[in-house]
Symmetry: C2
Subunit: 170 residues, 2 copies
């Protein structure tokens, strides 16, 4: 159990980490955005799987997964094979072209990280990975507690302001 100030700081760090993710996204090829790259990576690591499994690993809704997968399939990087055990389902399979793409992605991110984290020790990177992984687990468990909170007072909204820099008077 940690202190409240720590919780707030953690939220700020989570928010700020977005800049790192965007930085990583900038080195991706134009036809392979972050979402697609994540799918390729997971297929490369876990092998063939169904849509539902992929959605779970990505931690996003299956409708989102479907869009990413469609994008990849359109480029021939993955195939959607029929599942002999369940005709509603589709087995996702990395193609040779997809593997090439994945190698390319891996090279790009490794280059960037090797540059940015040149002064990190193997152990430090391992610690960060371990703690982030645990953080994810801590949230992944209980989908139960909706954690509702009382609402605040209402107030008039002028929606979309206008300029009012220095003294408005000329």
């Amino acid at each position: 159990m940690a202190a409240q100030a720590q919780y707030e700081e953690l939220v700020r760090q989570l928010s700020a980490i977005g800049a790192v993710k965007r930085d990583l996204g900038r080195i991706l090829p134009a036809d392979c955005p972050a979402g697609s790259a994540a799918v390729l990576t997971l297929l490369g690591r876990h092998g063939d799987m169904r849509m539902s499994k992929l959605a779970e690993l990505l931690a996003v809704d299956m409708s989102v997964t479907s869009r990413h997968v469609t994008h990849l399939a359109a480029r021939g990087w993955i195939e959607r094979l029929p599942d002999p055990a369940d005709k509603r389902s589709r087995i996702l399979h990395l193609t040779p072209a997809g593997l090439d793409r994945l190698d390319d992605l891996s090279r790009r991110t490794t280059h960037l990280l090797a540059d940015r984290l040149s002064d990190w020790s193997d152990d430090e990177v391992g610690q960060l990975i371990r703690l982030m992984s645990r953080l994810r687990d801590s949230f992944g468990d209980c989908r139960s507690h909706p954690v509702r909170i009382p609402a605040a007072a209402a107030a008039p909204v002028i929606e979309e302001t206008t300029r009012t820099p220095a003294n408005t008077r000329k």
Copy 2:
């Protein structure tokens, strides 16, 4: 200097952490999305500041910052005061209503985190914060290295596929 496998794992964890952020976002009031909440938090912690300073702390473009700020000002949670030292600039200031809003936000996130991280020690949370902060610093430094990578072979794109679940034959 860490191993390549670690780098790839780190990228996956960064990608997956998005689920945690979205979970935090779900407990926010409808009229105060994550971007607005981040602005309120930074103003609460660092006090009055200019747009450019806020953009730097948020680690996003100033145009993005401007939109968030406009949203907050429209609701009376912050004010954009003239800067006596530079008439182009505006000083952002949290209003009493904004402070109330901030307290509410703080309560919500603290509740959620206290629930999710109930089995984390104070020290563990501190370690995660420290490592994430350092990660950010490692990326924030060198805006220089564009880190370009050779392109991959082109291929025909069928753009947006259609259904082909089980055996296409009926």
